[in-house]
Symmetry: C2
Subunit: 338 residues, 2 copies
């Protein structure tokens, strides 16, 4: 780790030794965070899957969000990318640029969250960099996963015409959770509010399900992506990478009880809003129709919901249809209902 010319008061090396080195203890290749790089010894025949995401205070999370949840959200956003590849979490590297007035309690709480998820998902810290910034807290995490010998990673580019489109869990909760924090849905009852805010703050990456999907093999599961940009955008990425299109039915969108309560009164327009909300960290994937029963059974065995939303078509683009079969046209970062 390179020292910055300017550092937070605690000192870079103190922060690393006191707060981050314990999170690296489970990974020998981290060399106790006392070296400048980490060592990875791939198991024979394994592939590494590597992804990186950055998050900025005021853009991707609120600056006064609890620090342990900020740590976990960044970790889980990257875990979601690994999950959509079917990869087993292996280790991560964190670069953290701290505003100069960051106190030790904030750092301690951040490290607590990081340690909790490193343990929960078996993804220890392997290295990184700690420095100071005159700007907002900015974080970047590189997550490294493994795909064991004999298993193929799931890719965006493998969708085929005739596939069914599936998504795990529920869509739109995080979007509604953020809206609540910004003052919307004032009348919603407390339990529903808390549930939606929790989904915004603490994603539940589908790590086990992703690995199980990959284990089904490329005949039964074709393309996959995690839903971070919004369901339509991420299904669009699959379509673009695969050279196909898709049609999904709005009334098949899986909604949580809290989301259903929040949207009571304006279901269609509000559902459309959820399609581009983002931060769901579910997995959208495509599979041939004859694999549907096995996929549904697999999800049930793992205690995860899976909804069939529609199908893959030759015509490019993602078409969203209402209950009458009429298209709803969504703009890139919003939506418009004709």
């Amino acid at each position: 780790m390179a020292a910055a010319p300017s550092e937070s008061r605690l000192g870079e090396f103190d922060i690393i030794a006191r707060y981050f080195a314990p999170i690296a203890a489970a990974f020998p290749g981290a060399l106790g965070l006392k070296d400048d790089a980490a060592l990875f010894d791939p198991p024979p025949g394994a592939r590494f899957v590597v992804t990186a995401d950055a998050m900025v205070a005021g853009v991707h999370f609120l600056a006064d969000d609890p620090p342990d949840l900020i740590a976990r959200k960044l970790m889980r956003a990257n875990l979601s990318d690994l999950a959509a590849k079917g990869a087993i979490p292996h280790a991560c590297l964190l670069t953290i640029t701290l505003p100069e007035d960051t106190g030790e309690p904030w750092i301690a709480a951040y490290a607590r969250g990081l340690a909790a998820d490193a343990a929960e998902f078996a993804m220890p810290l392997a290295g990184g960099d700690t420095t100071a910034t005159p700007g907002p807290l900015t974080l970047s995490l590189t997550a490294i996963g493994l795909v064991p010998e004999g298993r193929a990673p799931l890719l965006r580019s493998a969708a085929q015409v005739g596939d069914r489109v599936f998504v795990t869990g529920t869509i739109g909760d995080a979007h509604l959770g953020l809206a609540i924090q910004r003052g919307e849905f004032f009348g919603l009852d407390g339990d529903h509010r808390a549930a939606l805010i929790d989904r915004y703050r603490l994603p539940q990456p589908r790590v086990a399900f992703g690995q199980a999907l990959a284990a089904l093999g490329p005949r039964k599961v074709h393309a996959a992506a995690d839903v971070s940009d919004g369901l339509v955008a991420d299904l669009g990425h699959i379509c673009e990478a695969s050279g196909v299109g898709a049609r999904i039915a709005l009334d098949r969108l899986p909604l949580s009880a809290a989301a259903t309560a929040a949207l009571a009164g304006a279901p269609l327009e509000s559902c459309a809003r959820l399609l581009s909300g983002g931060d769901d960290y579910e997995i959208v994937f495509t599979a041939p129709p004859d694999a549907a029963a096995e996929i549904v059974a697999l999800a049930k065995a793992l205690g995860i919901g899976v909804a069939e939303l529609g199908e893959v078509l030759a015509k490019p683009g993602v078409d969203v249809v209402d209950a009458a079969g009429d298209s709803i046209s969504l703009m890139r970062k919003g939506y418009r209902h004709f």
Copy 2:
């Protein structure tokens, strides 16, 4: 790559497709930057070496530095970490948070610099994330290197009492280059000024020499680190990780002609300043005395200077002595001369 809720005007996906995807073309595992993660297939028996560094405008570089040089400096700082491990550059991931007023010409110039170094050092882009920030430009690069089968990576922790201490190239040029940009050394002639500023802006990581050192094997080369925090600090990291100390002679410090000219008149105190200056991106390493001749010959063959500075001792800490053999006490981030 995950989209940010707020993006620069050009759009994240436009930036990736237009400017970053071409830099990924040489690395098939990057999947054209159209997926959320990159795939790495390790050659049999190889180890991966992974390092990450963050840089912030106004902290690690000046906000109005040429964008291509900012890109190359970040790349080279990470390449220097790989060099000190003896690793072969393989691929990198970049997360870039752009101020909202960043124009396309800036991005184009940044990508040009990144592309130049990706080609020069054979380290293509494999993935990353592009997002917007209300704060200063903040960059994080994760560099992945390979150590081939049968070769051991160089570590900080392998120094032994009786080793000689060596450093490549010259020390202090970047520190002086920054000082010049801040208004010091006003009387220095133009060529020397330009040479020192160039060393600050465009580090020359010792990638080939690091690999050659590792190829000599662990009997001939013991510990190594790159000099990014300052010579004394980084030699101190070696000593701490190895449970030893070191003594180096200030009058053996290798200085460039430009540094010598800049320091004329106050050589000793100014040399001491250079020991903690940082940004040298040289390699400091230790080796048994009987390997010295072979190491010097190797450096000569590669056209790189290597200076023997002193020796590894049992007593902890780094002791710097002047020509008379008297200790010079250096403070952590500065220096004090008794």
